[in-house]
């Protein structure tokens, strides 16, 4: 066997897994999006693009899309901003910094359902820690109906999402920061640049690959934040925390309209692909050069 063919064999396991776990479900999902299958009956009809048309007029789908954008923006801004600040403080490999990085990373290894259950108790309006703490320090007027207020609930869940993943993003940013050659920072400092200028002109541009990774990963993660929402609010109250993934799930498994749910999934796939592409273009992760 020629070397080329032998090497090609190494691609087979990965390609097989990719085809079985990604390509096949994607193609099947697209196929079912053109049908009116209810998920149970053995037969179904082809309905063309009517599921996609229905989706554009669907009241709950629209709400879910708007909620998802709110959720995503909050998580991306808060998670990226805080993790960057923490990473700048913890970039040096001192014992204290390594310990703190590990501490911040702990929520990431917890099951998201456990995280959701813990925070559901924390947010309980009458017996929860959050309001109890605020009342305890004399800030009783700041207490909130964290998960019961239709205007606030989506941000309460988004805050939990950010809390759970900031540690992970800190690690990515620290890796990015440590990859920046020290000479460049020193040269800028010798040229008289201040801390803010060094960050703007040297650190941030060179951190772009890590930032692009963090932002795109956070975006995808926030679109997929199914388990937190499902456990904490179930999409309520009054659809105020319904996002695309819970909409797809409910449409498929509660309303038994797999065709419509599949159309939602295809839309979801396209949306994430477009957003990720745009983010990479905007952050220009590919133009970093030392």
């Amino acid at each position: 066997m020629k070397a080329g063919k032998r090497i090609a064999l190494f691609f087979v396991p990965g390609l097989t897994l990719y085809a079985a776990l990604f390509l096949y479900p994607t193609i099947t999902g697209f196929y079912y999006s053109l049908t009116n299958w209810d998920g149970i009956s053995p037969s179904y009809d082809f309905v063309g693009l009517s599921n996609y048309r229905e989706l554009t007029e669907h009241i709950i789908f629209r709400k879910a899309l708007v909620n998802n954008v709110k959720f995503m923006l909050f998580v991306v801004l808060v998670q990226t901003g805080l993790s960057l600040l923490l990473a700048l403080r913890l970039a040096r490999n001192t014992k204290r910094n390594v310990a703190l990085r590990a501490l911040y990373f702990v929520p990431t290894v917890l099951s998201s359902v456990s995280v959701a259950l813990i925070w559901t108790f924390v947010f309980d309006p009458t017996q929860g820690l959050a309001n109890g703490f605020l009342s305890g320090i004399g800030l009783g007027s700041w207490t909130q109906n964290w998960l019961g207020d239709t205007g606030l609930a989506i941000f309460s869940v988004a805050a939990v999402q950010a809390w759970a993943h900031i540690g992970q993003m800190v690690i990515l940013f620290v890796a990015g920061l440590q990859a920046i050659p020290k000479e460049l920072i020193e040269a800028a400092r010798l040229d008289g640049a201040g801390a803010l200028q060094i960050f703007r002109r040297v650190t941030w541009p060179l951190l772009a690959p890590a930032a692009a990774l963090v932002v795109s990963y956070t975006t995808i993660q926030s679109f997929k934040a199914f388990d937190l929402i499902f456990t904490m609010t179930g999409g309520g109250p009054v659809y105020s925390t319904e996002i695309l993934s819970t909409f797809i799930y409910n449409t498929a498994f509660s309303s038994y309209t797999f065709g419509l749910a599949s159309a939602g999934s295809v839309f979801f796939l396209a949306l994430i692909a477009v957003i990720t592409y745009v983010q990479f273009r905007v952050i220009r992760a590919d133009r970093v050069a030392y």
């Binding site: 964290w146 998960l147 207020d149």
Partner: protein, 438 residues
């Protein structure tokens, strides 16, 4: 070593092929919507005392009541003793996942020879998918109270038998009511006066789990006399009635009134089932807006509690048609793709015996639909008294489209969140209209 390796290749291929064929054999049932016909040749003798000579048969029992495991295990032991050669394997899924995942498991017949389902949307979906065997004409159906197994009927066929009887009406603390000289009110003014008295005494009148089950439970008693028509929600789904009409606006307005007057605990919309249950068990609240299924848990949390059921009457006493709400649930059915339908039916028949049903009821604290059962606990006896009162089937479950059900329940959450009842009803109707237009 090399030889052994080469020899093992055909063996591995054969084993894989056998596994593949076995898998195909199982999945063949998935396409067999009329699986019952294919199974009709199953020997009926197997269902009974087939003796040790017959091949042992294992049937799967799929349900969501993890808390009933011990009770079912004891009953299964007795069934296996009475039916040598038949074994029952219990498979329990969490109730919140059951609605979503049961159907997938049932489709190939490998799980759930006997399975439980919820009335309403899930029953309709499974019936539409042809997954129920027809139980019509089975002699043991006479063990059940006829009116209580109607939720398992469709197109004149008995597709499933509801096993549990639940009263979806608020629970009240009898001792607290007595302490403050209150009796269950007979009309809306009386209900408001009782709530006000409790509030003045520093007790939360109603613990309301507004974040999850509260709205879906409380709406039933609130609407039962505002819209006495048993088919009102069926008419809504058929486009013959609207939730923007007076009966629903009045229901929403009355719920809003309870909230605005502070008769629910603070921030009721953010309180979950456990939180509201804790308020009631700790006797900080006098009424818990859930249902009879919570009685046993409350008693476990506070053995000193004396509990009763109380439905808010939303109209003047002389206009009240119904006294409460019942639901027959835990619908037991036989999977049409089952390879052992006779054994599966024999298991349901065994469960329908009044002694076995009584054993289940007393072990789990759940009332049952089987006739002449003797209940042991005070709570079960208190609930059983309601069988003599005028109750109606849970209106929420007559909404068979989940989107519609969610829209109606959400309109209650909306008014609790401050939305005007009329606007909340219009928003719900918009979603119902969208479903109607499909």
């Amino acid at each position: 070593m090399q030889t052994l390796r080469y020899r093992s290749i055909p063996l591995a291929v054969m084993a894989s092929a056998m596994l593949f064929l076995a898998a195909c054999g199982n999945s063949g049932g998935a396409n067999n919507a009329g699986g019952e016909a294919a199974n009709s040749n199953a020997p009926a003798a197997n269902a009974g005392n087939s003796g040790a000579s017959a091949d042992p048969v294992t049937i799967s029992f799929l349900h969501w009541r993890g808390e009933d495991n011990a009770a079912f295990e004891a009953i299964i032991g007795q069934f296996e003793e009475a039916h040598p050669g038949v074994q029952v394997e219990m498979q329990v899924l969490p109730s919140d996942q059951y609605q979503q995942t049961a159907q997938a498991k049932l489709r190939d017949g490998a799980s759930g020879d006997v399975f439980a389902s919820f009335p309403g949307a899930q029953f309709e979906a499974i019936a539409k998918g042809g997954l129920y065997s027809d139980l019509t004409g089975a002699a043991w159906l006479s063990n059940f109270a006829p009116a209580l197994i109607e939720a398992g009927q469709k197109d004149g066929k008995q597709l499933a038998v509801p096993y549990q009887l639940v009263y979806n009406m608020p629970i009240y603390n009898v001792k607290l009511f007595e302490k403050y000289g209150l009796t269950p009110p007979k009309d809306w003014d009386g209900f408001l006066a009782a709530a006000e008295k409790l509030k003045q005494e520093g007790i939360v009148p109603i613990a309301f789990p507004g974040a999850d089950i509260g709205p879906g439970q409380f709406m039933n008693t609130m609407v039962m006399n505002n819209a006495p028509d048993l088919d009102i929600f069926r008419k809504v789904e058929a486009g013959e009635a609207k939730v923007t009409e007076d009966w629903w606006i009045k229901t929403l307005t009355q719920i809003k009134e309870l909230n605005d007057k502070g008769y629910f605990q603070q921030d009721a919309l953010g309180t979950k089932d456990q939180g509201a249950g804790a308020l009631f068990a700790q006797e900080k609240a006098a009424i818990l807006a859930t249902g009879s299924y919570q009685l046993a848990q409350n008693k476990k949390n506070n053995p000193a509690l004396v509990q009763g059921l109380l439905a808010p009457i939303t109209v003047p006493a002389d206009q009240a048609v119904y006294e409460g709400i019942h639901t027959t649930t835990f619908l037991l059915g036989v999977n049409s793709a089952s390879k052992h339908p006779e054994e599966a039916k024999a298991f349901i028949e065994f469960l329908s015996g009044k002694d076995v049903a009584g054993q289940y009821a007393n072990a789990t604290g759940q009332n049952v639909t089987v006739k002449d059962v003797v209940y042991a606990s005070e709570e079960l006896k208190a609930v059983a008294e309601w069988t003599n009162k005028k109750t109606r089937f849970q209106p929420r479950f007559t909404l068979t489209d989940t989107e519609n059900q969610k829209a109606v329940v959400s309109s209650i959450q909306a008014v609790l969140g401050g939305t005007d009842p009329k606007k909340a009803a219009e928003d719900a109707q918009a979603i119902i209209d969208q479903q109607l237009g499909k």
